[in-house]
Symmetry: C2
DNA sequence: CTGAAAGCGCTTACAG
DNA sequence: CTGAAAGCGCTTACAG
């Protein structure tokens, strides 16, 4: 019937007693927030070492000191993580850890407003990074009402006063369209997102429409939810309805995996018969077929920047800018080529 | 010069005031550790609702009560999450939340022993779920020295005294081999894991060797790290060295995506020319090619069971068994067929 | 059935 | 340069 607990941790009081000082002094010796006489200081550290003391983060936090913990809120919306998301997590984690903070990912099947409230109110974390932002996002609304520092990765409809980093989605789709037009394509299909509540989806669809207007192209779109299978079906549907397309743009790497399969299954060679540009590259395509031309949405840059901004916020350091729109990158691969099909176009003047 | 703080979280004192009782009573109304008059109880819950109150895990923890938080430790070993892992996270999260616990995923680029120690000593979490167990796992060693309850998903080399749930890897590979033999296959290739420090990998490789001995089959293996591209290359290599194989088993869904591509690229029809069994099904295969015969490693059952056991541990409820070996499931699809190639075998007697 | 009070392990004004 | 004391938001004996 011996109690189950074995060794409990030493407290600041025991350290103080052993060093012959008040716990106030121990606290200050540790935090450095007040000068401590060298001799005293030395005795204190000796005592801490003897006792293997390390302050309790719990008590610290309750007493009003930060916990040095940052949470990434990432709802588990689908049965799949995209590689992009792993890249986000990894790059954010790296920045967070490198600044001496602990990094937590809050990943529930669905992180709703109540879950988020609980986390925020728990006092467990000093700051929050929010992903997968919706056009109208209840979580943002909640966070605005709180005074916990937070940074969005993405944007909502109304972003006044928010701190955020987002890829410039409009520029991204524009980059893809312009490049294809440059290659002589005039019938460009967009395997586009379906759920326009997702803010990024909304922006790239609007961007596509704008680009089509600018380039005087027909708007050819086929929506696909965030899965390979949807991409497969959307691609088949698009080609059937618009056999004239000579290029497609696919809105997500996850969808691209299906799109590439579909093109192969109906015998359209890439890039000879049709050019393909994907938003990001998936590890789920083996290298031989993975040398795609991609729009890189730069998760490392976006995530790292967001983490850095949150840390600055937490440490009361000034922010250069409150809102950063990251420019996308076009990485040319072997899935795009000059349009040989349909109407002939003049090469660009040199 | 107004202070930055706006409304901070409501405390138990405010609830007590609003309900016209002492905070002692509020505390007991919540914990149920002491009877509270129904009318009082109702007022208290009303007040809690009005104030959107939820108790601070930090304060609770400091006062000696559990924080009702469980952490899943999931190192980010690769640039990809498998769908299986998402299934683990989702099912664990569901069980944990449904029991009123908060669920955290500790996901750093690499969760090393020091990170884990910090978490454990912080007192932030009541219990820990550990995944991706290694044959020799430093994290397990650390956890054994502590008195925090923990459950392994997987096994190490020496599991004495540990609480764990693991898929029976040996049975899993055996199931696949036996089924293929039943279909008349005698040359079975195994696209197998490369890193045998990963305990699950070790077990299925050993299991394959054992099965081959039992069935008197040649051991045909081609190692692939955990990526589609590795699967692609390993499959090409295997077929080149062993053109006689009529069936392959692939050790992970991530790898299978590449293997399937490879077979198509070299013109081997599935299942006419070659049968394929995959460990788990990937969402990254569009449905048309995704009707694979799979060994289901049952992440929902394994993860859910592990979460349940940890909660039982935390609540001092008895465990039926300390260690559970989950039997795998064979789900037959359209990627396996009777062997028509090579030596003819008699059909199974009816 | 309910309250007043001590205490968990820290931090931080306040006072020397 | 140093201490005594209040307080963070809870839980839990102790006392009605």
């Amino acid at each position: 019937m011996t109690p189950r607990k074995s060794k409990s941790r030493p407290t600041i009081n025991e350290v103080a007693k052993r060093a012959g000082v008040a716990k106030t002094t121990v606290s200050h010796a540790i935090s450095g927030k007040r000068p401590v006489a060298p001799a005293t200081r030395e005795r204190i550290f000796k005592a801490m070492g003897d006792l293997q003391y390390s302050p309790s983060p719990i008590a610290r936090r309750l007493a009003g000191s930060p916990s040095h913990t940052i949470a990434l809120v990432l709802p588990l919306a689908s049965p799949t993580f995209a590689d992009v998301e792993v890249r986000y997590i990894a790059s954010i984690g790296a920045v967070v850890n490198q600044h001496g903070y602990t990094f937590l990912t809050l990943t529930a099947p669905q992180v709703n407003v109540d879950d988020l409230r609980q986390i925020v109110y728990s006092g467990l974390v000093d700051g929050v990074l929010l992903m997968r932002i919706q056009q109208k996002d209840e979580r943002v609304k909640l966070l605005r009402e709180t005074d916990i520092p937070f940074v969005l990765i993405g944007r909502t409809r109304d972003n006044k006063g928010l701190t955020l980093v987002d890829l410039n989605g409009e520029a991204a789709i524009g980059l893809a369209v312009d490049y294809l037009v440059e290659l002589g394509h005039h019938s460009i299909g967009f395997i586009c997102p379906e759920d326009l509540n997702f803010a990024f989806a909304y922006r790239i669809v609007k961007g596509f429409e704008k680009s089509c207007a600018k380039q005087q192209l027909p708007r050819i779109m086929s929506p696909a939810v965030w899965s390979a299978d949807a991409g497969y079906r959307a691609t088949l549907a698009l080609i059937e309805q618009h056999p004239e397309v000579t290029a497609i743009i696919v809105w997500s790497e996850v969808v691209t995996v299906g799109a590439v399969s579909a093109l192969r299954d109906i015998g359209r060679k890439v890039p000879d018969d049709i050019s393909v540009i994907s938003f990001d590259r998936s590890e789920h395509l083996h290298l031989a077929s993975a040398d795609l031309t991609v729009i890189d949405t730069r998760p490392e840059a976006v995530g790292g920047q967001a983490a850095q901004m949150l840390i600055n916020l937490l440490e009361d350091k000034p922010l250069e800018r409150e809102q950063i729109l990251m420019p996308p990158l076009l990485i040319t691969g072997k899935s795009t080529a000059h349009c040989t099909n349909g109407q002939v176009t003049l090469p660009k003047p040199a």
